[in-house]
Symmetry: C2
Subunit: 345 residues, 2 copies
């Protein structure tokens, strides 16, 4: 992916406004924390790894105008900033992991002058960004080994360049396989209600000349029955210590369908997506979003006024449905509780 999903300009967090894709490629400069918070909340920037980076850059936005010279007060301010940014969205743990890293660094250096603290935090945020790039490439390399020349694959939502600083998690696997000279096809689920699969993944894959076919989410089962699907690759927003993985709504559906059709089902996610403090997927907080996302489109109502709606943004796929978790350290396989610790700690 040659697009610049997110970057720190020194004065602003520059993001692609993903709500405008694929019709318009628009960049926004978030010049203050509130604007960035709003951009996260409204999904102008989204994707678990990108949210980690956005959170870290958000801290830089918050401290850039800080004028006083009291280190203890500054560190308290950084902690408040982190609390505030952490309230934007609840499920992707990368966001909290990045904030914990920034907060921890500030707390550990409270004896340093404010100017130095600022420099250290900026270096850390830049490092989170740079590391995500390297991690994408490493996941891509490990995942590409699972892609068969001539195979057909499936993915949901967008776990690509638009969800990371580089070329993605699940889609990074496809990009790396393509770079390795493999030819294959991808079915992209449109991913209701906000159509990240249709708007973002189809756009990315076409741009990268990967053979993509768009389907509605309810077509995945029949596609698995009538076509030879060689594997499913999705990202994740939070993975518990036992391997249960929260990801965009519809992922658990794919997990069950994959089991029924004997299709290998892979999660692709970096270390920052794991939450080892959580031992089971049922403890992962699942964001519920507004009914409007389901009941209208581009201002046109698509359902009767006042209808009750359930709109969870994520679901949890139990580890027993997962064939492997592709990380920057390699592919983790069952038994997950043991092997996740072995790979990550």
């Amino acid at each position: 992916m040659s697009v610049d999903t997110i970057r720190w300009t020194g004065k602003a967090v520059r993001i692609i406004d993903q709500t405008k894709l694929p019709n318009k490629l628009v960049y926004i400069d978030c010049r203050d924390v509130d604007t960035l918070w709003h951009a996260i909340k409204t999904l102008q920037v989204r994707g678990a790894p990108a949210l980690g980076i956005a959170a870290a850059f958000g801290v830089l936005l918050g401290i850039k105008g800080y004028k006083k010279d009291n280190s203890a007060a500054f560190v308290r301010y950084v902690c408040e900033l982190c609390d505030y940014i952490g309230k934007s969205r609840p499920t992707a743990v990368n966001l909290f992991n990045a904030l914990a890293q920034m907060r921890g660094l500030a707390l550990n250096n409270v004896d340093k002058p404010v100017a130095l603290l600022k420099a250290v935090l900026e270096a850390e945020a830049r490092a989170i960004y740079e590391e995500d790039k390297a991690v994408c490439r490493a996941m891509g390399k490990h995942g590409a080994a699972l892609i068969k020349n001539g195979g057909t694959y499936m993915t949901v939502c967008n776990a690509g360049g638009l969800a990371t600083a580089d070329y993605g998690t699940a889609l990074g696997v496809f990009y790396a396989a393509k770079e390795a000279g493999k030819k294959f096809k991808v079915f992209a689920l449109e991913t209701r209600p906000l159509l990240q699969g249709a708007r973002l993944t189809a756009w990315e894959l076409m741009k990268n000349k990967i053979d993509v076919t768009l389907i509605c989410d309810n077509m995945a089962a029949t596609v698995m029955k009538d076509n030879k699907i060689n594997g499913i690759f999705t990202g994740a927003d939070r993975i518990a210590a036992n391997g249960d993985a929260a990801n965009k709504i519809g992922t658990y559906m794919l997990g069950v369908l994959a089991k029924h059709h004997a299709v290998p089902f892979y999660i692709v996610a970096p270390k920052t997506t794991f939450d080892l403090k959580i031992d089971h997927g049922r403890k992962i907080p699942i964001e519920e979003r507004s009914a409007d996302e389901v009941t209208s489109f581009a201002g046109t109502p698509t359902a009767p006024k006042g209808v009750k709606v359930f709109n969870p943004s994520f679901d949890v796929t139990p580890h027993e449905l997962i064939s492997g978790i592709v990380t920057e350290y390699g592919v983790i396989k069952t038994p997950y509780d043991r092997n996740i610790k072995k790979a990550l700690l």
Copy 2:
């Protein structure tokens, strides 16, 4: 359901334009066969039983202006009419069954004068309409016995009053259970790409004061995992002699998910939806519709221009995933090949 989905006015086929629901309740008078054909093709009128009625009424539209007095020529004309109407949509067999009935009646009465032939055909079309009403009530009664007071159910697309002459197939089960004093909840899948679940089923159920919650199709799995779902009820567009059932895309997905979550899965369909000439679901023709339905909404593009799309309108649920088929004769259970013949022949 107190709405008049379809009726023969003597001069026109009056239908609700279902593409305008739930925002507007608009009736259209189809005064010629082409207008009706277009209404079927564009889903202004839809639903397997309603399509059977529309086809029969379409023959009445075609013959009403017929002036000549040659019975053999008239019967040939009726056969051509039936061929033409049969090309509107390919999957729902009710349409072909109704046309076969009209055609057969004409052929068997070729010795009668044209005026009498016309009267006989009109009586037959009216009988198809009236029978559908009675059949809805009978299916509702048999199906309602499967609804538990306090239970929670799930349905896809619209198999209600808007799909039949009376109160529906799958939704008829809910209406009959409500009339019997039962209280229960229903999750309605929105049913991409044309949102018949959101636009039509949610509208019908709200109108009938049934507790309905709208979800996107990709949420069905997580709803089944996290809620006690007591049963799934869907309609059908064609059922093979072995019990394999074609229905709106997403139904097969529900069948697989139901099996995984040990949820009973019922098809509700009248005799006219069975196609005993077809021994296996894989022989049912599946309509593929235009990519536009998936790539844009209300004129706004939702996917990159030129993206490849697969848009099947139906899928086939193998009989082994079906807990029972609710018909006007009672609930047919496995072994389907034997029990379908026993019930229907």
